[in-house]
C-alpha cells in the first residue's frame, strides 16, 4: 500500500500548518514549471485563489469540514467549470464559458477542493494519445518523445508531474486507464452511472464515465467517494450508494481470473513480465488465481468502434454553429453555416468518428452494423457476468505495450488497437482500475483490475494492496 497524499494536505490545512492559498500557489508554480509537457490547456488561477482565500477564512473561523479541504486539482477540459473556458480541446468550443458546472466539480468543491486548471485531451476525448488535441499533444512525463496516452493524457501527466495530487478524467473506452498506465499513475473508471455525467461534454452516452487519476489508490478512492452518488440531473446515475472503501483492510482470500485473451500474442514482453510478476504476488499472498476466457474480447473493439461513433455522431449534432461554439463567419446560407462551421470546428478524428457513426446508423446499414454490434455487446456483458459468478476480480494488462512514440500511430486503426483491453469493461459498464506496476527504470506499465458492476469498492481495495509501495 502507498501512503496517501491528499489526507495529509487536508490535515495540514485544517490545523493551520499550511493554507489553501499556499497549496494553490505552489501548485500553480509547479504547473508553470512543467509547461513544456503541455498537460494543461488553461489555468483558472483567479477563481482558484479566490476560493482558496475563502477556504482559509473559513478555517480561521473554525469551519474545517470538507474531505478535500484546500486540495488543488486539475479537471480534464471536457468538464464544464467556472473560472475560465471549457474547450474539450476542440476548436469548436474555444472561448466557450460554461454557465453551470458539472456535478462532479460541484461535489468536489463542496468538499473544499480547488480546481486550478483544465487538462489537455484528445479533442472531444476522441483518441488514445492526446495527439488529437487542437491545442497540441501532451508529452509523456517519463519520456518527452512519447505520448502520455489518452484521452485523459493531460490529467494523467499533471498527476505524474506532481502538479496536483489528483486530477479528473473521463473514460469511455479506456481514456482514464490508458494514460494512467502510460504515465505511471492510478486511474479509476467506476461502474457506469456511479458518478453523474451532468455537465461533462458527452462523448458516448452509454459508456461515458467519470473518475479520478491520482498518485495512490487511497487518494483515488477518496475522490471517488466525494463525487459518487445519485444525481437528479442524470437519469442514468446509480441509485445504490457506493460501498465504503475499506482500503486499509487486506482483502479476504480472492478468486482471481486472468483474462486469457489479454495475455496472448501481441503483448510486449516487458508488459507480460511485470504483469506475470504481479500475478505471482497475488498467488503468494494466498489468493486463488486461474486463467479465464472472455471469448468475445477480440470482438469488443469492433463493437466499440461501431456503437461509440454512433453515439458520438448524435452527441456532436448540437455543435451546429448557431447557438454557441465555432461559427463560420463567411457562410452565405443555413446549409453553409452547418458545413463550414462543422468542417472547421471539428478535427480529422472527430470527423472520422462522426462519419462512421452516421454510416452505421443510416438506413440500410443499421441492422448490419449498429444492431449487430448491440447484439454482440449483450453477449460480451453475459460473458463478464458468467466470469464474475466464478471470480471476484479479473486481471489483464491495461494495454499491450508501454507508451509509444509521438506520431507512431498515424494509422487510425493502429491507434484504435491500443484500446483492445479496456473497451470490454466499458461496453459492459464495469468498474476497472489501472495500477502502476513495478518496472524499475523502464517505462510505466499498468495492471487492469476489473470488478463486477457495482463492486467499485472491492476493485479499489484489491488495487490498494496491489500497488507498489
Amino acid at each position: 500500500m502507498k501512503q496517501p497524499l491528499i489526507a495529509p494536505i487536508v490535515e495540514a490545512v485544517r490545523s493551520g500548518k499550511t493554507t489553501a492559498v499556499a497549496q494553490v500557489t505552489e501548485a500553480i508554480a509547479r504547473a508553470e514549471k512543467a509547461k513544456d509537457f503541455n498537460a494543461i490547456i488553461s489555468m483558472t488561477t483567479d477563481r482558484a485563489l479566490e476560493r482558496a482565500r475563502m477556504i482559509d477564512e473559513r478555517v480561521a473561523r473554525g469551519e474545517t469540514t470538507g474531505r478535500l479541504l484546500g486540495v488543488p486539482f486539475i479537471a480534464k477540459d471536457n468538464f464544464l467549470t467556472f473560472g475560465g473556458e471549457t474547450t474539450a480541446a476542440s476548436t469548436m468550443l474555444k472561448g466557450f464559458m460554461a454557465p453551470y458546472q458539472s456535478t462532479a466539480i460541484e461535489r468536489l468543491e463542496a468538499e473544499g477542493a480547488i480546481c486550478i486548471g483544465k487538462a489537455n485531451l484528445d479533442a472531444f476525448a476522441h483518441g488514445g494519445s492526446t495527439e488529437n488535441s487542437d491545442f497540441g499533444p501532451t508529452l509523456n512525463p517519463h519520456d518527452k518523445s512519447r505520448v502520455p496516452g489518452g484521452s485523459s493524457g493531460g490529467s494523467a501527466a499533471s498527476v505524474a508531474l506532481s502538479i496536483v495530487p489528483f486530477a479528473l478524467g473521463t473514460d469511455t473506452g479506456g481514456s482514464i486507464r490508458l494514460p494512467a498506465s502510460y504515465c505511471g499513475v492510478v486511474g479509476f473508471k467506476p461502474t457506469y452511472g456511479r458518478v453523474s455525467r451532468f455537465g461533462v461534454v458527452a462523448m458516448a452516452s452509454s459508456t461515458d464515465t467519470i473518475g479520478p487519476l491520482a498518485t495512490t489508490v487511497a487518494d483515488a478512492a477518496l475522490v471517488l467517494e466525494c463525487m459518487a452518488g445519485l444525481d437528479a440531473r442524470d437519469s442514468t446515475s446509480l441509485p445504490k450508494p457506493l460501498e465504503t472503501v475499506a482500503i486499509t483492510n487486506a482483502p479476504k482470500a480472492l478468486r482471481i481470473g486472468v483474462i486469457k485473451e489479454c495475455m496472448g500474442e501481441g503483448i510486449d514482453p516487458m508488459t507480460r513480465q511485470v504483469v506475470e510478476a504481479k500475478i505471482a504476488d497475488f498467488k503468494a499472498a494466498g489468493h486463488s488465481v486461474e486463467t479465464v476466457s472472455i471469448p468475445s474480447t477480440e470482438l469488443a473493439l469492433a463493437v466499440y468502434y461501431v456503437v461509440v461513433p454512433a453515439e458520438i455522431s448524435s452527441n456532436l449534432a448540437r455543435f451546429d454553429g448557431i447557438r454557441f461554439g465555432y461559427s463560420a463567419k463567411d457562410a452565405e446560407s443555413l446549409q453553409e453555416t452547418y458545413e463550414k462551421s462543422r468542417s472547421a470546428g471539428f478535427n480529422t478524428e472527430n470527423k472520422r468518428r462522426i462519419m462512421i457513426g452516421n454510416y452505421v446508423l443510416s438506413s440500410g446499414y443499421y441492422d448490419a452494423y449498429y444492431k449487430r454490434a448491440q447484439t454482440v455487446r449483450t453477449i460480451i456483458m453475459k460473458e463478464y457476468t458468467a466470469a464474475f459468478a466464478k471470480y471476484d476480480v479479473l486481471l489483464s494488462p491495461v494495454a499491450p505495450t508501454a507508451a509509444f512514440a509521438l506520431g507512431a500511430k498515424a494509422d487510425p486503426l493502429a491507434m484504435y488497437m491500443v484500446d483492445v483491453m479496456t473497451v470490454g469493461p466499458s461496453l459492459a459498464g464495469l468498474p476497472a482500475i489501472s495500477v502502476p506496476l513495478e518496472v524499475g527504470k523502464e517505462l510505466p506499465v499498468g495492471l487492469q483490475i476489473i470488478g463486477a458492476a457495482g463492486h467499485d469498492a472491492l476493485v479499489l481495495q484489491v488495487a490498494a494492496h496491489a500497488e507498489a509501495a
Binding site: 464544464l80 471549457t86 474539450a88 468550443l93 466557450f96 460554461a98 454557465p99 453551470y100 458539472s102 455525467r197 451532468f198 455537465g199 461533462v200 461534454v201 458527452a202 458516448a204 452516452s205 452509454s206 437528479a232 440531473r233 442524470d234 437519469s235 442514468t236 454512433a310 453515439e311 455522431s313 448524435s314 456532436l316 449534432a317 448540437r318 451546429d320 448557431i322 447557438r323 454557441f324 443555413l334 452547418y338 452516421n358 446508423l361 443510416s362 438506413s363 443499421y366 449498429y370
Partner: protein, 488 residues
Amino acid sequence: MAMIDDYEPTIGIECHVQLATATKLFSGADNDARDAAPNTTVSPICFGLPGVLPVLNTQAVQLAIRAGIALNAEVNLFSAFERKHYFYPDLPLGYQITQLERPVIGAGIVEVPLRDGSTFPVRLHHAHLESDAGKLTHPEGADYSLVDLNRAGTPLIEIVSEPDMHTSEQAKAYAQELYLRMVYAKVTHGNLFHGNMRFDVNISIAKKGATELGTRAEIKNLNSFKSVEKVVEYEFKRQCALLEKGETVVQETRGWNEPKQKTFTQRSKEDAHDYRYFPDADLPPIQLTQEEVDAVAKAMAPALPSSIRQRLLAKSVSAKSIATLFLYPLLLDRVLAVEQLSSDDILKQIIDILINVLPPELEKEATPPLPDSGYLPEPAALVTLIKLVNDSTINGSNAKELLRQSWKDLTDPAAIAEKLGFIQDNDEDALAALVDALLADPIAEQSVNDYKAGNQRAMGFFVGQLMKRSGGKANPALAQKIIKQRLG
C-alpha cells in the same frame, strides 16, 4: 373515361397533442409560453448546451397514460425513447427525442360519431411521446431568420391512425373526436389557435374497389377541423385531376395555404431525411405497472365521454342534445360544472338554452372553441339566469336573447335583464287590456276563428302579437291563460 366519382380517397391522420404539463418533457423550464417573450421559457437543455442531460417529466408520462385510456388503446408497460436526427435551427440538440420501436401507447380503436348519430371505427396504429421543436420566423425582407426556443421541449403525444377514413366528413369527425377525448381526459389544454393540437393528413386516391392504395401526399400542420376537411376535399380533387390527365401523384410533403385554400409542395420524397433513429442512452426506459395504469383508468372513468353520455341520458337529456354538447366541449364543460350544483330540471333547461344560443356564436369566433378562454358564463350565473325564467322575472325568449348578447360577460343576469328592458311585466290587468285590444283588432279575426275551430296554432299568433305589443315584456304563460279565458 373515368370520372371523379370512380375514385375514393384513403386517409390516415397523425395528430400532435401538446400535453398540459407544468414543465417541459425533459427539463424544468415552464411549459406555458403563451404570453412569454421569445427564448424566455428555456433552460440549458432546451438550448442544447454541452453537458446537459434530459430528465423525464413524470407528469408527462401520467398524461400519456390518460391519453391511452381515453383513446381506448393499449398502454404499454414498457416503452423507451429514441433519437431522430436532422439539422434545423429550431432543433437545438440536432435530434428530436421521440419513441419509435416501443411507444408508450399501442394499438386501439376509436369509435367516431358522425353528425347523423351513426359511428365508424378508426384503428390507431400507436401513439408515442416526443418533444416538440422550437419555432422559426422569417421577418419580411430580412436576410436572417429568428429562432424562438420557447416551444422546444414541450411534451407531445403523436397519435397515428391507420388509413381508415374515406371522406372529408370522416376525417373532420375523427379530428374532432380526438380533440374531444384529449380535452376531456385533461391531457391537453386543447387550444387549437396556439397549436395545442396539430394534424398531418395523409391522403391517397384509388379507383373504388381497388386493392392497392395510390401514392400518398402528406399535408402537414393543420390546426383546425375545418382545414382538415378542406384539405381532404382539395387534395381529392387535385389528385383526381392528375390521374385524369394521365399524370402521377408524387409522394411528398405539402403545406396548406389557408387564405388561398390550396395545398402546395414543401418537400419531395427525394429530399426526405435519413433520421438515423437509435435508442437514447441518456434516458432509461419507462416502466409502468398494470396496477398503476388500472388506477388511472378507474379515476378517469367518470370524466370519459362515454360515461358522461350515459349519465346525461339517465337524466333524460336527449341523445341529440348530448351529441350537440360533445361537439362543443366548452359547453359540455359548463354543463358538467352545473351538474354539480343544480337540480336535473335546471340542468336540462341550461342545456337547452346553451345549445340553442351558443353554437352559432362560438362558430363566429375566429378560432374554434377555446376551453381555457374563461369568458363563457360561470355555472352559477347560468343557474341564476334559468331561475329568472322559472320565477317569471323574464320570459324564455328574452332569456335566450340575453344570453346571446352577453355570453362573454354574464356576471349578473338580473342586472343585464334590467338594462336590456327584459324584466317581464306580470301585471294581469294591464295584460288583460292588451289581450282585449288584440282580440278586437281585425288582424286577429281569422286566428280567433281558427282557435275556436280547435286550431291550437292560432295561440302562437296571439302570444307573438302580445309580445310585440308589450315590447317583449309580457309573460307568455299569463297571456295564454287570459286568452283561454276570453275565448272560452
